[in-house]
């Protein structure tokens, strides 16, 4: 790296004598190829952040920015005094922690076991099939889940009846206590195969000689997994764990919206649905924005603290 600037130092000196304009002109294609998109990103990603000012106003559509009434932290006060907000936070955290644990452990287990398969074709077939649900929309998955869990003819109830675990079908979709588990299971079913890709790539990078040596030493398969495979993918595991902690609160609302129904509302309402219902549904734009800001701030704090903790304890970090 260091020798390169020395070699080209002569033409560089000539170049610096040229005006700024000629420099811009010489890179005009690069500028034309990137700046339209910089403007695009500014409009679609940065202007909405300016929209955060709405949270501190009593925003009325149609009025100009200077005409809006400023209310300080009024909207946040209202948010923290709202009883529903705590219910929504409980649901959000419960579902996101369940998803973090299950959605994080299952792909690792599946990837490790896939790696242990000796038959290449069988391994590839299992992989292809396990990716399948990832490509299907949540709309379709919700339809499938509701069908599988239905009381008349749903496969889950039939299976449980045939095994004599239950006497009459369970109304899974109508009982609020089931909702968190259903969402988590559906999520694992949809994404587990897809999430193995990255671990399989990391496992592929482990030196095969390590396994050979372990075999010679008479290590069992479980010992090989524990002492070679898992340490080999530890970095990948840590990085993905940090990222998913950062996304803890951003569990989205699609699944909850599609799988939920009025019967289970007390367990299905999550923070983004809450923002959607109040902010857009009821037209309380300022309040909805305040909820969004709360959401963003919490996830940033989570990301940075997870990053910090892991940096201190394991030396791995994403930033």
């Amino acid at each position: 790296m260091k020798t390169l600037p020395l070699e080209v130092s002569k033409p560089m000196v000539v170049k610096t004598k040229k005006s700024v304009w000629s420099k811009i002109l010489s890179q005009k294609y690069l500028i034309l190829m990137s700046f339209p998109f910089v403007i695009w990103v500014f409009v679609f990603s940065y202007i909405p952040i300016w929209g955060w000012t709405m949270a501190f106003q009593n925003f009325k559509p149609g009025l100009s920015f200077s005409q809006q009434e400023w209310v300080g932290l009024q909207n946040f006060k209202e948010l923290f005094l709202d009883h529903d907000f705590y219910l929504v936070m409980r649901n959000t955290l419960a579902m996101s922690i369940m998803e973090l644990v299950a959605g994080f452990l299952c792909p690792i287990v599946l990837a490790v076991l896939l790696h242990e398969l000796k038959n290449k074709y069988f391994k590839r077939t299992v992989q292809t099939i396990s990716y399948l649900p990832h490509f299907v929309s949540w709309v379709v998955v919700s339809g499938i889940v509701i069908q599988m869990l239905s009381t008349d003819g749903g496969v889950v109830n039939q299976l449980l009846m045939n095994l004599h675990v239950i006497n009459k079908p369970i109304e899974f979709m109508g009982k609020e206590n089931w909702f968190w588990s259903i969402v988590t299971t559906a999520d694992v079913w949809k994404e587990v195969g897809w999430n193995t890709i990255i671990y399989l790539a990391a496992i592929a990078g482990i030196d095969p000689q390590l396994y050979e040596a372990a075999k010679v030493d008479g290590a069992s398969r479980f010992r090989q997994i524990w002492h070679i495979t898992i340490p080999g993918i530890r970095t990948t595991i840590t990085i993905l764990l940090i990222l998913s902690i950062g996304n803890l609160i951003n569990i989205g609302f699609e699944k909850q919206m599609l799988l939920g129904n009025p019967l289970v509302q007390s367990h299905s309402n999550v923070i983004q649905l809450y923002a959607l219902n109040y902010g857009i549904g009821l037209g309380r734009y300022s309040f909805g924005t305040a909820v969004g800001i709360f959401n963003s701030v919490v996830s940033i704090i989570l990301l940075f603290s997870a990053n910090r903790i892991f940096k201190k304890t394991t030396g791995e970090s994403v930033m």
Binding site: S34, V41, F135, V139, W189, A275
Partner: protein
């Protein structure tokens, strides 16, 4: 390979492990596939028979009636047209924009590289949120237009970084020789970089296409008042949720028919109709997306 394996003693516990593992994988395959096969079977079963329950992976009373019926829904065909259009156009524009900007970011001599790259990376940490995004779309007059499907998600920072890390690994000599031949930066991008990037572009194209095909929320939020802009996924949402929308009192509308006759089989037929295009395409691109996924994630 086989010789070397047999040279090492395989003991009973190893064999038990292998058998258990195979059995476990079989269960995984069944759990992943059964729901789809079940839905497929129900979609080919007569609706009256479906109500009795007990359909597994084979239709008991085979019929094509359900599919004939759903092809008569006007709203589904409008939805199909819009879904295809947004997928094709959105994917094309997305890949073009993402790769173009990724190329400029891979050029070490580009003076604005640092600025552009930081400007883009910051958006990964912050997002305005639901309400400001909605207000922006409203202020830009994009509500009830087709462009709301294309414009807001056209540039993806995540995809840009995936493509850039791929370009960074290409040999630089090709670019340099083209430069000596007097090619300008756009020509280098178009003639040299793009053809070399095929594997990563296929990955990104698949991501964008699946995202476009599967999205329904933008239709719900921005275009639910314009029946001519509906999409397949949104129609499926309406059918599955059986919402009696007040705006659409048309007796031919899909959800009314789903309510009146044959709910389950019709619902499943629409589900299959919406799902099949994606399922047919992805196995062919598997080789590419596995490469692309690991490129973006393991490296950064």
């Amino acid at each position: 390979m086989a010789k070397r394996r047999s040279a090492l003693p395989t003991n009973t516990s190893d064999r038990i492990f292998d058998i258990c593992n195979m059995a476990f994988m079989m269960i995984v395959v069944v759990v992943m596939l059964y729901p789809f096969l079940n839905v497929l079977a129900i979609s080919f079963n007569t609706s009256l028979d479906t109500v009795k329950g007990g359909i597994t992976i084979w239709p008991r009373d085979f019929t094509l009636e359900n599919y004939k019926k759903i092809l008569e829904y006007d709203t589904l065909l409008v939805g199909l047209k819009n879904s295809v259009l947004r997928t094709v156009l959105g994917t094309f524009l997305g890949v073009l924009c993402d790769s173009m900007i990724a190329y400029t970011l891979s050029r070490k001599d580009y003076k604005a590289r640092k600025f552009v790259s930081t400007f883009l990376a910051l958006t990964l940490f912050f997002s305005g949120g639901l309400v400001p995004g909605y207000m922006l779309v409203r202020d830009l007059q994009l509500m009830n237009t087709f462009w709301v499907y294309i414009l807001p998600g056209m540039v993806s920072v995540f995809n840009i970084f995936i493509i850039r890390s791929f370009i960074d690994n290409l040999p630089i000599s090709l670019q340099e020789s083209a430069k000596l031949d007097g090619a300008n930066d756009f020509v280098i991008y178009w003639r040299i970089i793009l053809p070399l990037c095929k594997p990563v572009l296929a990955t990104v194209a698949l991501f964008i296409a699946v995202g476009q095909w599967n999205s329904w929320f933008d239709t719900y939020l921005y275009n639910s008042m314009s029946p001519s802009l509906t999409t397949l996924q949104y129609e499926l949402v309406k059918i599955l949720q059986n919402t009696n929308s007040t705006t659409n009192a048309n007796a031919q509308s899909a959800e009314n028919i789903a309510n009146m006759v044959t709910p389950e089989s019709i619902k499943m037929a629409v589900t299959i109709f919406v799902t099949v295009p994606v399922l047919v395409i992805y196995p062919f691109l598997q080789k590419y997306f596995m490469q692309g996924m690991t490129l973006g994630a393991v490296k950064d």
